[in-house]
Each structure stands twice: as C-alpha cells, then as structure tokens.
Symmetry: C2
C-alpha cells in the first residue's frame, strides 16, 4: 500500500514490518525479539536485524537491554501520562493548522481513512482498526505540512498503541470513530478553532479511558518485576 523511501535498505523494511506488527498488537508488550529468530523470518543477517531493532528502540517501541536482548516496550503508567501530555501539546495546534490548509483531496483521503477504519472494525480486525485510527492522527500532521511534528506524532501514536494494549479497559471503541468524524466536519468547514478544541477533547477522552492506577498486568510482567 505505502511504499518505503527509494533508498531504503533491508533494515528499514524489517523495522517497518515489526513496527506494524507491534502497532497491531500481534507482538504484545514484553515480547522478546531474538535477533536470530527475526533474522530467520526475514532471511537477513543479524547485522540487519540489529539496525532495525536499534531504530525501533530509538522510537521507544522496543527496549534494548544490554546482554539480554530486545523486548517490545512496556510503557509505565508514567510513560503513558507523558505521552498524552506531549500529544496534548502538539496535536490540537497541529489540527488547527491542518484545518486552515486542508485541500478537498485531503478531505477525501481522510474520509476514506475513516471508512477503512469502520470496515476493519466491522470485520472484527480490531488490530487493523487501531492501526488505521493512529494513521488518522498522523495524516492530520501531514496535512498541516509539518514533517518534524509529524515525526513526533508518529512516534507518540505508536507508543499510544502500546499504552492501549496495557492500560485500555473500557472496550468502547466507537467513541473513537465518532470523534474522528467530528474532526472531519470541522476540517471540511475549515474551522481551525473548532478542530483544535475537538482534538483537545478527543485526546482527553482517550487518556481518561485508560486505567493508569494499577501496575502492568501483562503475562511476562512478574518476571520483569524481579529481574530489575
């Protein structure tokens, strides 16, 4: 669907594939990512795998433990709060810029995004729906024509996916698409102020739908608990 950069090496391909797998919760937080194992899957040497893992580690999607290996990151409750704090600073203003610059073509693309999201949801593919819902936020940054901020939002959205895997309890996934739909109508009206407000409350809704009080509950957490 989306092509990689023209001069992208095999490491980038591996990283992109792992990233999507993590994003879609096929690789849950805490999963060990052995270098030999991944290398065998993609038929590349450990050199390539290491480059990919380092790239993902820099984006905080995996944690690199020296002499122990790479693991899908397990954001703490504090990490979660920080991620949404950062999103609250970046995204509302970016949505405003997007609303002021959006073209009709962009609007159609955004609408198609939502439709695909709905379709995935109806098909029961919640992983893909979650992925697309994240892409929606990234698309807004792209429309705002801010590649630096887009890169940050991209990272924050990825981390949010991990956070959702760990702390999401309220299973109401429909609020998502409703918020996105409201955003689109603000975009269509070129109403920057409304888009900013909608994005702000959308992010607030997201963070309040998390349960950040108790500790991690994932399978491997007990091992992690005493390993450190």
């Amino acid at each position: 669907m989306e092509d990689v950069q023209p001069s992208a090496g095999p490491g980038d391909v591996v990283a992109a594939d792992l990233e999507r797998a993590i994003h879609e919760h096929r690789l849950p937080p805490g999963t060990k990512l052995g270098e030999d194992e991944i290398g065998e899957v993609y038929s590349v040497s450990r050199t390539i795998v290491r480059a990919a893992l380092q790239s993902l580690a820099h984006r905080r999607l995996v944690e690199l433990k020296r002499n122990r290996g790479a693991f899908v990151a397990q954001p703490t409750a504090r990490d979660a709060r920080e991620v949404f704090e950062a999103r609250a600073l970046l995204e509302p203003r970016t949505a405003r810029s997007a609303a002021e610059r959006i073209t009709d073509k962009d609007l159609i693309a955004l609408q198609a995004h939502i439709d695909a999201e709905h379709a995935a949801l109806r098909a029961g593919d919640s992983g893909r729906a979650l992925y697309l819902s994240g892409q929606f936020h990234i698309e807004i940054a792209r429309i705002a024509d801010q590649t630096t901020i887009e890169a940050y939002i991209r990272e924050l959205v990825s981390r949010s996916s991990l956070i959702i895997a760990l702390y999401w309890h309220r299973r109401a996934a429909l609020c998502e698409s409703h918020a996105h739909h409201a955003l689109i109508s603000a975009f269509a009206a070129r109403d920057g102020a409304r888009a900013e407000d909608l994005m702000k409350s959308h992010l607030l809704d997201l963070v309040t739908s998390l349960d950040l009080r108790n500790v991690v509950s994932m399978p491997s957490s007990l091992r992690e608990a005493l390993a450190r």
Copy 2:
C-alpha cells in the same frame, strides 16, 4: 562532567562525543563523517561507528546517504521553520510546568548554568557558550519532569544548533543570556504564566534573528547542489 547511563555501550560514547562536537560547531554542517576515520579516532571498529551514526541520523543530526556515507546535517530553511514551530508548541508550556515544580536546588543549578555560559562567552569559547545555552532549555524540560518532551526538546535544540550555524547572521549573542536571566527570575517567583510568556518570546526572538530567505552558504553546498 555528566556520566552516561550505567549500561551504555561504546557506541553511545562515540555518539555523545560526536553530538557535542556538532553542537559546538567543531563539525560544521556538511562535513563528511567517514566510518574508518571516526573509528580510528576512537579506536573502535566500524560496527560501533555505524551504530553511533545511525543514532545521530535518527536525531536528524547527521544525514545518511546510501553508499555515500554520513554527513553532518544541513537543515533547510524549511526545516528551520519547522524546528522552531515545534519548539514553540513544546517549550512555553513546559516552562510553565517547570516554574510550578521547580525546587531551590534546581534554581541554583540553573543559575550555575548561566554563569558557566557567561564564563565561556568571556573566554571567547562561543562554541561552548552555544552548547550551554542549549543545555539550559533541556534543563527546564528536566525540571518539568517530562522525559518524553525532554527528549524531543533535546533533539530540537541540537538541530537548532545546526540551524544557527547555517542561518545566524546577527551576531548579538548577549540577548540570549538576558532572556535566560529573565526566565530564571520567573522561575524563582514560581510564576508559571510569566515563564510561559518569556519562553514564547525568547523563541520568537531566536527565530527572527535568523535569515531564512536565501539558500545555504556553507562550503560543501555547491557540490551538494548538483549531486542531487
């Protein structure tokens, strides 16, 4: 002075040293960073150097050109605008948070920072002064206790150093320390709103002191111009 993480490998040391050299303008934008060359300087193999360069590339401090090598990044005027756009979104609110949480110990550390900045300036070490002036902004994010935002600001400050190397014309470096001094007084008064305003105008001052109209003027740019 500052220690690296306990479990930091040699690659991180190399990356940190290169980063500071770039930050202090000892490695100007466009400089070629040959792998063998760097490896010889630090007495490490190319494996380590490559990891360090990849890390720096991810932070946009160096540009990696496939089969061509690594070069100190040369942000475009557009990049410069985007960097300061992002800083404008992140730093003022972060300064407000910092003002609301700052301790007396933090205040002393910040003051020491400014003093060192002045000392470096008087000693004619403008590179070090610039480095310390960047550290000041990072320190504020640390005080605000937002490690995620701090990481972004760290990256943006580094890139700002490259932007200053390329687009800075007005040689008035004194406005810097004055603005930082005013910020400290707002922090001392725990005046979050004032800190936020001061940071906002400080960043505005910075970006307006740049000349983003004409193209890059660095030595290697002519070669770069037709290579692509």
